[in-house]
Symmetry: D2
Amino acid sequence: MTVPFILDTDTAQDDCVALIAGLLDPDADLRAITMVAGNVGFDKQVRNAHLTLNVCGRLGTVPIHLGCRQPMVVPWVSAENVHGDGSGGLDMDFAGTATEDEHAVDALIRLTAQEPGELSIVAIGPLTNIAMAAVKDPAFVRNVKRLVIMGGSNNGRGNITAAAEFNFYVDPHAARVVFEAGFADIVVVPWAPLTLQDAVFSREQLADIDRLGTSLSRFFLTVCGPTLAFDESVGIPGTTHPDSLSVGVLLHPELALASAQYHVAVETESELTRGYSAMSWGVHGLEPNATVVERADGPAFHTWITGFLATSTEPNRPFHGWDS
Amino acid sequence: MTVPFILDTDTAQDDCVALIAGLLDPDADLRAITMVAGNVGFDKQVRNAHLTLNVCGRLGTVPIHLGCRQPMVVPWVSAENVHGDGSGGLDMDFAGTATEDEHAVDALIRLTAQEPGELSIVAIGPLTNIAMAAVKDPAFVRNVKRLVIMGGSNNGRGNITAAAEFNFYVDPHAARVVFEAGFADIVVVPWAPLTLQDAVFSREQLADIDRLGTSLSRFFLTVCGPTLAFDESVGIPGTTHPDSLSVGVLLHPELALASAQYHVAVETESELTRGYSAMSWGVHGLEPNATVVERADGPAFHTWITGFLATSTEPNRPFHGWDS
Amino acid sequence: MTVPFILDTDTAQDDCVALIAGLLDPDADLRAITMVAGNVGFDKQVRNAHLTLNVCGRLGTVPIHLGCRQPMVVPWVSAENVHGDGSGGLDMDFAGTATEDEHAVDALIRLTAQEPGELSIVAIGPLTNIAMAAVKDPAFVRNVKRLVIMGGSNNGRGNITAAAEFNFYVDPHAARVVFEAGFADIVVVPWAPLTLQDAVFSREQLADIDRLGTSLSRFFLTVCGPTLAFDESVGIPGTTHPDSLSVGVLLHPELALASAQYHVAVETESELTRGYSAMSWGVHGLEPNATVVERADGPAFHTWITGFLATSTEPNRPFHGWDS
Amino acid sequence: MTVPFILDTDTAQDDCVALIAGLLDPDADLRAITMVAGNVGFDKQVRNAHLTLNVCGRLGTVPIHLGCRQPMVVPWVSAENVHGDGSGGLDMDFAGTATEDEHAVDALIRLTAQEPGELSIVAIGPLTNIAMAAVKDPAFVRNVKRLVIMGGSNNGRGNITAAAEFNFYVDPHAARVVFEAGFADIVVVPWAPLTLQDAVFSREQLADIDRLGTSLSRFFLTVCGPTLAFDESVGIPGTTHPDSLSVGVLLHPELALASAQYHVAVETESELTRGYSAMSWGVHGLEPNATVVERADGPAFHTWITGFLATSTEPNRPFHGWDS
Ligand SMILES: [Ca+2]
Ligand SMILES: [Ca+2]
Ligand SMILES: [Ca+2]
Ligand SMILES: [Ca+2]
């Protein structure tokens, strides 16, 4: 029994890993990739999605819908200082690669309407596309089965500011809209403390991955390597994988060792706290609107990811720019 | 030489008058009606649009596209305390009346893309549809010729609060997005002081309209009459016509006796000043982003409107609920 | 029967005129001058107060209490681009001039407590001292008879931004505190439209003042002259006198031709609308907390001011820097 | 060599413990108690201070200065749902107990001015008095040696809301003012995670205190007991002692096992995040303005407190309402 879902992504680094999992996990039924403005330049993100499909030998097999190139209200902010081009300088011949004519917002609305209550969404970028779909068509909210969101922090550190995690910071209004929209089943994979505790790959683990010697392991290290230096400079001992953990939590709920009901609200008004997620754990009299993952099975998550990386794949096209 | 345009409207009271002008003025080439959440319940607004097409004998001749049923970020606020159902209780047999399948946001994007730089838009409701189109497709902003906006006040009183005019108050984020989006030619028809000075029809003028004895004059009084009591209760000596003035300003620019370049910014962060339009008149070092109409030719505007009301039309269907 | 009051001032330009009126009007019983950070550097303001006392021959006769040198929450913003040093370069020998040891906040509290309900305050700068006194001692609010405030705009233009008048902009939190504090009798003299309509002295009127040939007329022109060029550059046909009008309205209530009850609230949260005064005129269901002067007797005000300027005074010390 | 300091307090529960430490620690030279609106009704807080002086046999030996009875800008919010009357129903004959005439704000200014750079302040309530002193007299900021603040959370949970700790929530503007004022040496003792990790007394520890059988142990349990049920209901396994830890950190810096430089900013504009403290740990390019205690020596802290509780004291007056 596979899990049908759409991956809404600002494809760079761990988004690529999330996409690999969504393509290769036998339990996954990835219906579409929807692209949203986030980590790096929009067109670079599209390239990164094609590169990832290519390394899996799946170029052209999953529709890519281009979505909003800017947040709903505020100007776009990039994380290129962290992510570079988002795929470690990797390149290939993109001739003939294509994306759908249909806008991501419309694809989200249409696909979920075709099978009401059957499709889930894993949203691992700013929530612009999801919120736009909710504003454009109220039925969208009712048609989504489960919405897994990578974003915010659960009463812990942000990353782009002390207060805020990147995805919610970039489009705080979209995040607010999504948590107020009435989705029946939202699962949140926060940055802190969850990701920092349970979804960091250490230098040792990266060295183990290097020894796998597959196209995928090489792709992984090329793509994720550039953030390592940045992560270490801010005190994180390895690469971070919240996006792939989000796919993991959808496909294998047992990866979430502890979760709880929270009321999540996102700050849109103040500059200081822009994008802060107020996650209230049940003592403030607020109605829960989301399940927040509090603890994940880090070793199982690592095993799950490295399982894919050990797989032998046939890239559709040769890569340029492999680390050597 | 006619002026091709789309009317984006929350059809109630003066929106109906604006639509009459858009249908009957020989200089107007009304391509589509796009509906946005605003004055009264969304479905009532659609009915009001059909009622207006009917009184003009034009039922079914202009496509009506349904747009966003809620603002971008904040919940919808109605003005039903002012407008009632928006058409004075008027009714007819709506059987067979239809609206387009295409969403208003998509219609705005498609129609303007078909003739880049040729179509104008008169937006006389909250700016949700316009902002959503701008966020969904950046090309939309470049494709619009002129965008006439009824909204805000030019350093004068609001109506729904001291600070804010209704359209900007209802969807302040949309208004902010629109003024920051980079439209080449925005013309603003503000509530105060412009509307209150130059677009109020007095009891005497309404009595003159009554004497016209046409279907249109009867329709006008039925539709606009209910706001008269409210207007007088807040010190306005007559019915107000900013929406129809906006159509007038597009079709007959000479109705604007004075206009100037302003930098317009709309408040989204504070509850007290939600929807306030900061219209800076050139002394604060801000780059202009709009032309604001400062003075209109009230008598000419009145003559222009009453000219239509004096016209004999054949309603497609009989009305129920005429005032008698 | 004289009117006992305290003048809370950021002494520059029209504050000097207000002080002249407070010193010379036989109906005035000026008990103290309290100084607050505002128009120009704090120490320059103190000098300007001494200069004004000097031109009236009253140096050392009224206690000057130094108050808050910064707003309550936000950093101080100067208006030196408008006001220069606030007295047109005027100078004198300040040796031996003195100010009180007691802080302005404490003087406000003590003086009003000594005669509960008897003393009024005319506040013609940012409201920092007044608000600090209210926060420090709740009894202060009850002890003040009438509080006349120069600040805000009544649904009209600001001056420092489109949205805001200078005094409220500089310390918006203080202004908010004052309007929420529960003073029994607040009278507001707003910038727009009142000041612009009824308290501007034209070039012709200034020429008439010049012909008076007194020390006071010379002082007035030296002090007020520098703002004339600025005012004209922003479209105001003359010098503006809201501060002296505020003293006028306390001493001679008949100068206010029209006033009404308003609910006044001041914006503190948003940068765009910082210091905006939402003056609600009774149609929004808010409890009035202030009387706002809507129309003043401009000619009578002008006559009242020029009456003082025609007076012959003996400055205590010679001035340096007279315009020649 | 004793440490001279002032205790600024909203005396209830752990404030009483902090006061006991400040009175009984031989290294402490407590010069004054300044009272600020916070936990419970202002007059109850004053009673609680007297009760605490009494149990130590020190009634009348330390001046109590009454300060601001409300926050700087926003209305007072109580924590009486947590704290009750703040001393577990304890009572005594208060006849003849007295407080100083001088306002707390003035006492803070005067005492620190008398010995510039020599006196420290431990602020364990909302920061209203401290901020008011800074606004009233800029020299105050320069005269304070060290300012220890109990408030905020270090990228962790709040208590009154998910986002905010009580002291900063109650007067966010004061907290903002204090962190922007330029104090040379601010030490922050945050609520989370520090207090929850290192300053909670468990039921077992409370039982041990009970066995001490002194007036002070009895006082402690009577005063702190009522919060135990509340704390346990929100998942905290014991009574919390951030205020006494703050005194501990001043008198015995070695109680702070880990501290680091942070830039602390406090949210004043948004309702959702009101009072949130953005504590930036050095990776966001912000200049540090405070030292935040990250880890305390919990056992040593506990030993330090229970050392006082084991002391035999002679209350000046008998208590009514002892738990029996
Ligand atoms: Ca991502
Ligand atoms: Ca309308
Ligand atoms: Ca002034
Ligand atoms: Ca406390």
